[in-house]
Each structure stands twice: as C-alpha cells, then as structure tokens.
C-alpha cells in the first residue's frame, strides 16, 4: 500500500514537472530549462513505476530501455537540422505504436468491462493511426515518397467506408473480446486509416498534419492511460493532445482553411484559375543585385522551404552580417506555415546563429513593409503570393500572407519559373518592383556575399 502511495505521489510531482516544463517552453529564455524539467518528470515517473509490485522481472525492461535508449540517442545526435521535420514525425509515430502495444497488453487484464474494452480499442485505433500516419509523413518529408497529394477516384467514399468499418470493428471488439479476430482487424484497419489520412496531404500542408499527428500521439497515450488505469498517462497525454490541437489550429488559421478542408480536399492537385497575370518577368544578375543591396538601408529576408532544401541558412547569415556592417538593418519575416513543420524556419536560422529577436512574425512585419528597401524572398512562394489578397477566385484567396510586394524592391531567389507547392502561378514574379534572380539560392547568396566582402 505504501509503495502505491509513493508511486502516486511521485506521479503528481511528475505531472507538475510536465506542466512547468511546458510553461517554460513558452519563452526562448527559459525553454531549455523547461525541457530539462519535463525530462526529469519523465525520469521520475519511469523510475518510480519500476517499484510497482506487478513488475517481477526486470530483464526485458532493461533490454528494451537499452535498445530504445541507444537508438533514440544516436538518432537525436546524428540527425541534420534540415532533416528535423521527418525526425519529429518518426519519433511521434513510435510513440503511437507504443500506445497501440500498451493497449494490446492491457487486454490480458483479468477483469475487462465494456468501458475498459472501449478504451483499449481507442488506444489501438489512435495509436495505429498515429503510427502509420507518421510513417507516411516521414516518407513524404524525407522524399522517400512523392510529396504531392496522392489522390484517386472515389477516395472520399473509400475513406468514409474505412472509418465506418473501424467503428463497426470497435463495436464488435467490445462485444466479443474473446474473439481475437476483431483485435487483429482493429490493428489492420487503424493502420490503413493512418495511411489513407495522410497520403492525400500535399507538402505545403505538412505543418498541419504534423501538428495533428502530434496531438494524436498524446490522445493515444491518454486512451492507454484509461485502459491501464494510470492517471499520469492521462494527464501527460491530454496535455500533449491539447497542445497539438492548438498548433493545428494556428497552422490552419495561417492558411485560412479549416482542418476538414486540409484533410479532405487534396489541395493543390487541381490547380485552379488564378485569372490572367499581367506584366512580365524581369531577371537580374547577381552583380546588379549587389549594387542594389549595397545602397539599401533596410532589408527583410523572407525564407521558405526552398531555403531548407538549398541549405542556404548559413550563407543567409553571412549576408546579414555583411549588410549590417554596411550600416543596413536586416530582419527576417517568418510566415507561420513556411517550411514543412511549425517553426521550421526558426530552427534553421537558429542553427545558423541568427538571433531569434530578428525573426519577426507576419503581423509585426507587414505594417512596415513599405519602409524596406529590399525584400529578399528565398525559396518561398505561396506565403508571399499576392493572389491571396487580390484574386477572389484563387484557391489561396484569403490566406494571410507576408506582403513582400509592398517593399520598394523585391528580389526573388528561385531555381526556375516553376510554380509553388500549391501549383499556383505567383503574380509577385510579374510585378514592376520584382527582380528574379534565377539559380540555386545557396550559390546566388554565396556570390552576393563574395561581392559584398570585397
């Protein structure tokens, strides 16, 4: 009895550490400490659980922790910062799989009532969806799978049918727990549902789906908590579930779309009419760009996924230092959905030692966009597309954008005239004040840096 009391008191402390950890994650100055606190909470919860009298054999636990610990440590140490989105997706998927397995193990409990069976089913369902969904997201982000939406005829009815099949399977699982068939079917159906949910999502919508899967992994842990009667799983799981839902919501708002629209529309596959774009494209050489930059008093850099692909963050930072030495103000404007996960650009620029107080959010930078001499758009497209503001027929109409076109001069660093992930043409490229600098962003910036440093 006293062991049980100790375990539950320690769980309370662990829950407090998780809560404080998340609270401290709210400010860059305290975030690292917050993460450490949260890790301590986890350590406490794990260590104290080992005192549980139901545990009689430590060999398998030790083996599992050693294997998982080595893999986790190596993965976290070795992964390149640019590969962070897929790494997060993969870790997330493993959490989901673990919850599925915990749900399965919970079936071996002696007394199973319908409610318990329902929560076991839910931890299998949500865990399975999280696992395979995250694997597909991982494949898309690491480009092992095509990044464009995968669509086929009758996809919506097929998915609706799959969802119904899942619900029916859940009912049968609860009614006939002694028949293992329903358990296996539940595993297979949830895995299929995870795949089907994520394949129609295009690359540009990845920030939404990553946040949503993050939320699911928390909900899976929460369901597993009900299945094994453990309150720390419920507390921690629902904290994560709530945080994932908030992030999902922020991402959806940043694209002016609803979650249902992201999940079911296969955005970008159809393209769509943007209306006629007037004007012509003006290309610029790096030499000419150099003269403009040398005279500039203020520059705003607008990065997008292309900066991550070209790994151009370090050379961007060099350019920033040189411009600052020249007496020019440099800031960065970050769109909430730039890149492939929430905050993707911030992490890359932090890696290049760009101070985070130079990274401005959309709402901070738009009101003063007219005052910038030059806006440098690096590998961003849809998030600076004025069609979102001006063309009511455009699929992205209404999406809040960074108004790069209001700057005095706009440099767009781009490989070619291919359209963005949304498959839309961008009127920004045809504006009078826009200059296109074609080529690999990293090379272009490298040349500018060389010119400025001589």
């Amino acid at each position: 009895m006293s062991t049980n009391l100790l375990i539950n008191l320690s769980y309370t402390v662990a829950a407090v550490l998780f809560i404080l950890g998340l609270k401290f994650l709210g400010s860059p100055a305290t975030a690292r400490r917050g993460n450490t606190l949260s890790a301590l909470g986890m350590l406490l919860a794990v260590v104290v659980t080992l005192l549980d009298q139901a545990i009689i054999d430590y060999r398998w636990i030790l083996l599992g922790i050693v294997i998982g610990g080595v893999i986790g440590t190596l993965a976290a140490r070795l992964v390149a910062m640019t590969a962070m989105p897929e790494m997060v997706a993969l870790f997330n998927g493993f959490g989901g799989l673990a919850s599925l397995l915990v749900g399965w193990v919970a079936l071996a409990q002696p007394r199973l009532d319908s409610f318990l069976l329902l929560t076991i089913f839910l931890s299998i369902l949500i865990g399975g969806v999280t696992f395979t969904g995250s694997l597909v997201a991982w494949g898309k982000l690491s480009e092992k799978l095509p990044g464009r939406p995968i669509l086929f005829r009758g996809q919506r009815p097929a998915n609706a049918g799959l969802l119904l099949a899942n619900i029916a399977c859940g009912a049968l699982f609860v009614l006939y727990p002694e028949q293992h068939f329903w358990l296996f079917l539940a595993v297979v159906l949830s895995a299929t549902l995870g795949v089907m949910t994520v394949i129609p999502i295009g690359g540009a919508d990845m920030p939404v789906i990553i946040s949503l899967l993050n939320s699911y992994s928390g909900l899976a842990a929460c369901a597993a908590g009900f299945a094994i009667n453990n309150n720390i799983l419920i507390v921690a799981g629902s904290l994560v579930g709530a945080s994932g839902i908030i992030l999902t919501n922020i991402m959806c708002k940043a694209m002016n779309r609803t979650l249902g629209n992201v999940l079911f529309s296969g955005f970008g596959a159809a393209g769509g009419a943007t209306g006629k774009i007037e004007g012509e494209v003006t290309a610029l050489t790096t030499e000419d760009a150099y003269y403009v930059l040398e005279a500039a008093q203020s520059v705003v850099v607008i990065p997008g996924y292309g900066m991550a692909v070209a790994q151009a963050q370090h050379v961007v930072k060099e350019l920033q230092l040189l411009l600052e030495k020249n007496g020019c103000e440099v800031v960065y404007a970050i769109h909430p959905v730039a890149g492939r996960m929430p905050g993707h650009m911030n992490v890359l620029l932090a890696e290049a030692d760009v101070p985070y107080d130079l990274l401005l959010e959309m709402d901070e930078v738009n009101p003063r966009m007219e005052t910038f001499d030059v806006a440098i758009v690096i590998g961003a497209n849809d998030v600076v597309n004025p069609a979102a503001r001006e063309t009511p027929g455009s699929p992205i109409y209404g999406m809040p954008i960074i108004n790069a076109d209001y700057a005095r001069t706009v440099f767009v660093l781009k490989r070619s005239m291919a359209s963005g992930f949304a498959g839309l043409d961008n009127p920004l490229f045809y504006r009078k004040n826009t200059r296109m600098i074609f080529g690999d962003a990293k090379e272009t910036l490298g040349r500018l840096v060389r010119e400025l440093s001589t």
């Binding site: 545990i55 398998w60 636990i61 922790i65 893999i71 799983l233 905050g343």
Partner: protein, 95 residues
C-alpha cells in the same frame, strides 16, 4: 480508480494544456512540438508493467516492444529538443 475520477483528470488537463500552449511564440513552435512529443512517450510507464509483469510470453514480447519504441520516443524526443533549444540565442549573446 473509477471512471469519473479519471475523466475529471482528463478534462482539467485538457483545459490546462490549452492555457499553457496558447501563449507559446511562433519561434518556439518546433521545439514545443518535439518537446510535447517526448512527453507523449509517457506511455513507456504503461509498457513497463507489460514487459516486466507476470504475463504470458505474448504480453511480455508486446510489452518489451512497447518499451523499445516508447524509449526511442522519450530519449530521442528530449535530446533533439534540447539540441534545438541550445541553438536559440538572443542578439546580444551572439558575437
């Protein structure tokens, strides 16, 4: 433990989660996500009882697998978050 009590915990935690996360600045969205992701590895606690319990071979195998995957999630998640957060610096601290 009864259902009402667990649901009570659930609802309060969800509200607390909403309150806590609503204020995180966009700069920290990635570390927040990966840090929260590490917390979701709490399912490890449930896996321990399966792996070390008095169960059949099946539950021990499933439990051990759950321990492996949950540990990857926890250890990897916290380390990667720490690695990211170590890079975030304010202007005056950067030379």
């Amino acid at each position: 433990m009864d259902l009402v009590y667990l649901s009570f915990i659930l609802i309060l935690s969800v509200f607390l989660g909403f309150e806590l996360i609503g204020k995180v600045p966009a700069t920290l969205h990635t570390p927040l996500m990966s840090g929260a992701n590490a917390i979701s590895g709490i399912t490890l606690v449930g896996a321990l009882v399966g792996a070390g319990g008095q169960g059949s071979t099946l539950t021990i195998v499933l439990g051990t697998m759950a321990v492996v995957f949950a540990t990857i999630n926890v250890v990897g998640g916290y380390l990667v978050t720490d690695r990211m957060l170590a890079m975030f610096k304010k202007r005056d601290k950067v030379k």
